[in-house]
Amino acid sequence: MNTRIIKNSLALVALIVGLLLLASCTGGVVARGWAGVSMIDDTLIFATMTGKIYSVDKTGTVLGTPVNLVVSASGGLSCIPTCSGSQTRPVAMYASPGVAGDLVYFAGNDGRVHAYQLVDGRLRDQTRWIYPPEGGLGSVIIGGLTVANNKVYLSSANGTVYALTAPEGYKEWSYSIGGKIWSAPAVGTDTVYIGSFDKKVYALDINTGTKKWEYETEGAITAAPLVNDGIVYFGSYDRHMYALDTSGKLVWKFPATDNITNSPQNWFWVTPVLQNGILYAPCLDGKVYMLDAATGGFMDAIDLRYNNDKGSISSSPVIVDNTLVIAVSDLAKKTSRVYAIDTNSQGVKELTGFTTEAINAPLFAADGIVYIHTTTDNFYGLNAQNGALQKFSLTTSK
């Protein structure tokens, strides 16, 4: 065939593919995850966006060889940024690894739960167990997992909640809600609570998984509820923070509204935290709403936006002693700042800022240090008092 024809045709096809990729890639996002940090016996566990899991000591030394979590790539044009030329892609994880005894648990978008044993601070390269042993749950796991009472509780995105035995990974029960689930389960005394895309919060019996009650809001619920003293706190995409009692009755609900214009604001994307009877409810509008945990009464709204009112709180905060450490990100420009709020005086202090990294992963605190995983896949240790920052290089020793 004439080479000119081939050249012309290939050029045209390349142009079309290029335009489509340009259209889909400009701002189009590939699932990379934002796993938080966990700790087991003074060993930090970091799960990266490239599917690697490191065990690291507090000085930043990588212990042993990282575990590599990958899943078969389905291929196709839409995944070119991550999987072109390879048969596998990294497992994207959106929650902190779970820990119990000497086991560390991971769940991600391969639709499976992986349990690894930690021996002398090093992760064994062989899994202790995988659930399900063959195939997957039929859907990705976004909400992550919660380990309590020697059980691993998790939800798959296709709307099923599971309880597995922590040491062996045997299924104790499962319950299908029907609605899509991106929320991690919250575990109370005898109940598992979980939010769903179908705008409801479900309460399931901790031993059998049978439904006790459900409560419907006007928006989807993707953040894990907080359970404290018989009250279940959770935020919804209807821009309200809710408090229910353990029988599913509404105690109070609070709307995230602008106190000047009284216009509704953004979603409650992450789990609130509670300290000294005050509920700190971070919102995607860049504010932390301080509410009376008992009555839902509005106390204050701390506006953490910066750079011409930009900033969203898309990362779960942590409490370190009497300090609430919270990250705010400009999601468009991929910048972020980390603030410390004194829970006694409500004084706000900026601890650090990142000019090229946003923070979506939940923060994790241990021994006065807050561990941060940023969107550029860097891990940092931040002193919650003085803001001293340590970057972990994650290079394996020879």
Partner: protein, 287 residues
């Protein structure tokens, strides 16, 4: 404010919010919303599309004359260009007449394409990104997201598992292409256009296999609208010849010259394949 932010503010965010509101009023059905929004935008763009199609049609009508000129001034490029321009002027056609409307429409198509990708929000990253585009002053928008992605047998956030949608995308694109693909007297052009007639539908069918069904539904709707518009502007075009009863072919006695080459006259058969004139094996894609 950078270009990306301006694009988001002026084009992308409004389209995303309109799509979410439409979904609310169309029985919480995102599939219907994609179809209706595509129709509405095509209707708004109709004057430009019509101009583009008419210009394209005129250019096709000029092809025989253009071929003659090309043949006549094959060795004098300057003269060729001058004669071509004269021909365009005489026919009242601008060579960029079909290009300009297409360029004007392009940002809208890209925005529509991006809006569909964004509202589907199949990953937490995408949903978080979507929250930046939602208007806080439109109360019904916030409660609506994340949208229900079920439509007929499809999960609009995932590729069609039974491959029906990619087949429909490919088939409708082929029909649309066939309606606008003229017969060229230049064998190279003819082969090229026939190749594109098949390559484009195959490419889009393949992409529909790997992209989410929401985008494939948009392509399908867009193809069907294009077919309807094309029909009302210039009829079925070359597609009609496929369904006409072909006249019985005469014995090929007159087709062979003394040199043994095939010398079939132009226009003996409709849709003549010019490659046959030079005795080359014809391109078989359209058979």
């Amino acid at each position: 404010m950078d270009a990306g932010a301006i694009w988001d503010l002026i084009i992308l965010s409004p389209m995303i919010n309109i799509m979410v509101v439409l979904t609310r009023f169309l029985f919480n059905n995102l599939g219907l919303s994609i179809i209706v929004l595509t129709i509405v935008i095509r209707a708004v763009m109709y004057p430009l599309s019509r101009r583009q199609l008419q210009s394209s049609k005129k250019m096709q009508e000029l092809q025989p004359k253009m071929a003659e000129i090309q043949k006549k001034y094959a060795k004098d490029r300057q003269k060729l260009a001058k004669e071509q321009m004269a021909l365009y002027k005489e026919a009242g056609v601008s060579p960029t007449g079909c290009l300009l409307p297409m360029i004007i429409q392009m940002p809208v198509w890209i925005a529509l394409y991006q809006s569909i990708s964004r509202v589907l929000a199949t990953t937490p990253e995408e949903l978080l990104n979507l929250s930046r585009h939602i208007y806080t002053s439109w109360p019904i928008v916030f409660d609506q997201v994340p949208l229900n992605s079920q439509f007929l047998w499809l999960d609009l956030g995932a590729p069609d598992k039974i491959i029906l949608l990619p087949i429909l995308v490919g088939a409708t694109m082929w029909i649309q292409q066939k309606m606008t693909t003229p017969s060229y007297s230049d064998p190279q052009q003819q082969t090229n256009s026939q190749m594109m007639l098949w390559m484009m539908p195959l490419l889009f069918a393949f992409m529909s296999l790997s992209f989410n069904s929401g985008l494939a539904l948009y392509w399908l709707t867009s193809n069907i609208i294009s077919i309807v518009m094309q029909y009302f502007i210039s009829g079925w075009g070359p597609l009609a010849t496929m369904f006409r009863k072909q006249p019985e072919k005469k014995p090929p006695a007159k087709l062979t010259s003394s040199s043994g080459q095939i010398t079939q006259k132009k226009g003996d058969l409709q849709g003549t394949n010019p490659t046959a004139e030079k005795g080359k094996k014809p391109w078989m894609f359209w058979k």
